[in-house]
Symmetry: C2
Subunit: 348 residues, 2 copies
């Protein structure tokens, strides 16, 4: 009986291994075919991505990278989803001020809450870092992590982008969804490394990017653990723990991933250090910057933008030969076809 | 051509799906068979584990848990490997003092370095928290993360346990290796949540536990990012960033995993909050405590031990009906059979 079961298992494993190797082979072949990255136009960016994938997955090539070392990191705001006219999380914070105003009568006399409650959209553009920190602390802290997660999920269900007539969660870039899926089909683990708050991003990252919570890295605040009414709860505190921007990105990648990525994709100066960290070393690597140069379909901004400023990183990219992706010429499509298509299918 | 390739892909995927479901079925059946957890004696602990696995993987049962929610967290020192007579990382720090002494003549006049260099093993037992912090800072900081990783790996290659005649890295518990592998075969992601330093643990966790760096959580210090001589490097600073012990464990699980575990395994009061965090909620869960009651094969210690004190957690376990695993009666074997067997094979 036991030995029958051993043989059955062995047979199952052998067939499994054969089919697995067949499928991996197919995936590798199809990575070179015309049917991958359909929303990317043929050009140097798409070719650089496909050449890189071919190089690191070809077991006979000196550029081969073991699957366990295939780590890809992506900035979020402006790289995976739209960040104009305002960071999506900032809009969430503003909407939360409206929602919580009844419990905070003192806000009617305090900036930045007063201006937000008066609907002064101009003020937001000139809000100081101090005001933003106050706004985030007031709307993101003093609440359990479970309750915050529910609030963020509820907000994502209906909050609409002011220009595109689709939910914020649907303002993700279709070419990037295709790239994430292609990387995973080629054995990569994909991480989101966002300047935004990790708890906010996790409320939506699994649904829209197929990135599990443990592979989402972001800015974070301190939390407090206690047993309250017999229940173990974590409460979000107003103190900042980590700002996941600029040099904070490689620092957090080391802390959370513990391996140097071989592919990094960003769009602003805040991503420079993450790209420098990845685009170095003996093993092959690919550093990419998305250039927003498409005012018609999305937005055009770079060196002087208050949001998503891309200045020094553009100079370093030119000097180092990094791949600068033009939204206008490299992408045949920006957003998913049907609003409501925020959920995606894996390649396999 | 394209349509042939589509059909080939579809066939491959169909066969793949069938074999996958066959193998998963086999794994599930074999989880109930006698050939899993071979180093666990039949008894309430082994039965509780197998019953829990059957409950969360049976798709028709109300206790079914989606694979994406199957998170298991393990303390390290005293749960996955031996922590007596001294935490392994503390022995590493002590050996590093010896190795670095030539570069630090001032240590000959400073405690705790002076006593360590004099080989005073008694002093170590009465070292204050302040001395330990000084020791860790002096031996773990002021070095790049890459250089530290190399130093830790080198140490693990030859550092021997003083009693068991095997490498420290081979002082892992065979029954726990089997449990980790069984959980993964049942769709769990396994995380190590150690009071030890995350950089130290990662140097060995993938080899001995098959846990990738991104699934290792631990205490951590601050790091600094810079481009030095054209190379992007992270340097370890002496400032502590997070102590992954007691309430620090659920806090770090939230930060790094972002999901509530459904299985938690610890062995000391420092693991209490992690077990409380996991052993709660609507979904099924399993909380386990390893009780070191085997002076003959390993060590016997609990309520009054300076290392791995198990006192309050034992009371809570009794009250809450958590599973207390007896090393003496529940385990037929403590360490892997052959020294040198620190590497393990997956179940599949």
């Amino acid at each position: 009986m036991a030995s029958t079961s051993i043989w059955r298992n062995a047979l199952g494993i052998a067939v499994f291994a054969w089919v697995l190797s067949y499928c991996v082979g197919q995936a590798r072949r199809s990575a070179r075919a015309d049917d991958v990255l359909p929303s990317w136009n043929d050009g140097p960016s798409r070719r650089a991505i496909l050449a890189f994938l071919a190089a690191v997955t070809d077991r006979r090539a000196p550029t081969f990278v073991e699957p366990s070392r295939r780590i890809a990191v992506f900035d979020n705001d402006g790289t995976l989803w739209a960040e104009q006219p305002l960071y999506i999380q900032l809009q969430f914070a503003i909407d939360r001020v409206q929602a919580l105003a009844a419990q905070h009568p003192e806000w009617r006399a305090q900036e930045p809450f007063k201006a937000i409650l008066a609907g002064d959209r101009q003020l937001l553009a000139r809000m100081s870092q101090h005001d933003v920190a106050k706004l985030i602390a007031a709307t993101h802290a003093g609440i359990t992590t479970d309750a915050f997660d529910r609030a963020a999920r509820r907000w994502f269900e209906s909050a609409m982008h002011p220009r595109f007539g689709r939910l914020y969660r649907e303002c993700v870039y279709q070419p990037m969804l295709e790239l994430l899926a292609l990387l995973r089909a080629n054995g990569f683990r994909t991480f989101v490394v966002s300047g935004g708050g990790v708890d906010f991003m996790r409320a939506v990252a699994e649904d829209v990017y197929r990135v599990p919570p443990a592979q989402v890295i972001g800015s974070s605040g301190k939390t407090h653990f206690e047993i309250r009414d017999g229940r173990p709860v974590l409460t979000k505190l107003p103190e900042v723990s980590s700002i996941d921007d600029a040099q904070g990105k490689p620092i957090n990648i080391h802390l959370h991933v513990g391996q140097r990525p071989i592919l990094a994709f960003g769009n602003s100066d805040g991503d420079l250090q993450m790209l420098q960290y990845a685009a170095f070393g003996e093993q092959p690597h690919l550093a990419l910057l998305l250039h927003h140069d498409d005012a018609r379909r999305e937005y055009a901004y770079d060196r002087h933008s208050p949001i998503g400023r891309l200045d020094r990183a553009l100079d370093v990219a030119a000097k180092r030969g990094w791949t600068v992706v033009s939204m206008k010429t490299d992408w045949s499509r920006v957003f998913p076809r049907a609003p409501g298509a925020g959920r995606m299918l894996e390649l396999r």
